[in-house]
Amino acid sequence: MAVDSFKFLPRSFRAEYEVVTDPPGNDVWTSPSKPASASTFALLTSAGLHLKDGHEPFDLDGERENPMWGDPSYRVIPRRVTQDDLTASHLHINTRDLELDFNVSLPIEPFRRLESEGAIGRLADEHYSFMGYQHRDLVDWREFHGPQLAAHLEESGVDVLLLAPA
């Protein structure tokens, strides 16, 4: 089946997303150097997940003061995290289900199973959480947090990054 990208989007938002006004002019592509079964996978969500202890929550007050702005920073989530360790800060989705089961957006448990079954080489020790609502120009992601993330992945020996927008 072809997925309807707008099925769950409020009708008034549809025009905003139907046609991308300024798409990139080129493709980017890196061929995997090894099969998935030998690769280390890291996961990234934009659901605003963070640790209750040890992480600053995403800056929701800053967004309330300036509705055009969203906190562009990210948090590193250890693979051994438990449901009780996590909470979510996000003003654009209902976080209730994330508080019950973070795997709906950051699928650590399914990837542990893929690891144990040998479908992937390894699940990385660290994963990444952003808060998805951002200023339209995405300048902080493009110029700072994105390159910082890419450097972190390289240092960590990650072979593949899986991203899941919230």
Binding site: M1, V3, D4, S5, F6, K7, F8, L9, E18, V19, V20, P23, P24, N26, D27, V28, W29, T30, S31, P32, P35, A36, S39, L44, A47, E63, R64, P67, L91, H92, I93, N94, T95, D97, L98, D101, N103, V104, S105, P107, E109, P110, R113, L114, A119, F130, Y133, W141, G146, P147, L149, A150, L153, E154, V160, L161, L162, L163, A164, P165
Partner: protein
């Protein structure tokens, strides 16, 4: 999110993106896309449904081995097992987000202005 996927891909790490809006991801030239027809905030499925979550995760992993060209998209044939109207309502935050509230306030203002103009015409003001 396509911006981050492209940036990481360009740095030399292959990416795969699981998204509820694959049309947008493809237009943004996201390298590998798995489309799911799920409510926002639930890219891997229902709370506690490990089989559904695993199926989506497995599809993403498989795409790393099978995709040969930029823009490869696979849509998953998984129906959200909940009434769409209920799912639509439940994914949304309890309060409108700040930017949505700004738009709602503007809409209310323009409707009020239109109403005043219309009443003015009726009373001959």
């Amino acid at each position: 999110m396509p911006v981050l996927a492209r940036l990481v891909e360009a740095s030399g790490v292959p990416t795969v993106t699981v998204t509820m809006m694959p049309d947008v991801a493809t237009q943004m030239r996201t390298p590998r896309v798995v489309g799911v027809e799920f409510p926002f905030g639930h890219a891997f499925g229902m709370v506690g449904d490990r089989d559904m979550q695993f199926r989506v995760a497995r599809a993403a992993v498989d795409l790393i081995d099978t995709a040969a060209t930029p823009g490869t998209r696979v849509d998953l044939d998984i129906e959200w097992p909940q009434d769409p109207k209920q799912a639509y309502k439940e994914w949304q935050p309890p309060m409108p987000s700040p930017i949505v509230q700004v738009f709602l306030d503007r809409l209310a203002e323009s409707r009020a202005a239109a109403r005043e103009a219309s009443e003015g015409r009726r009373t001959g003001d």
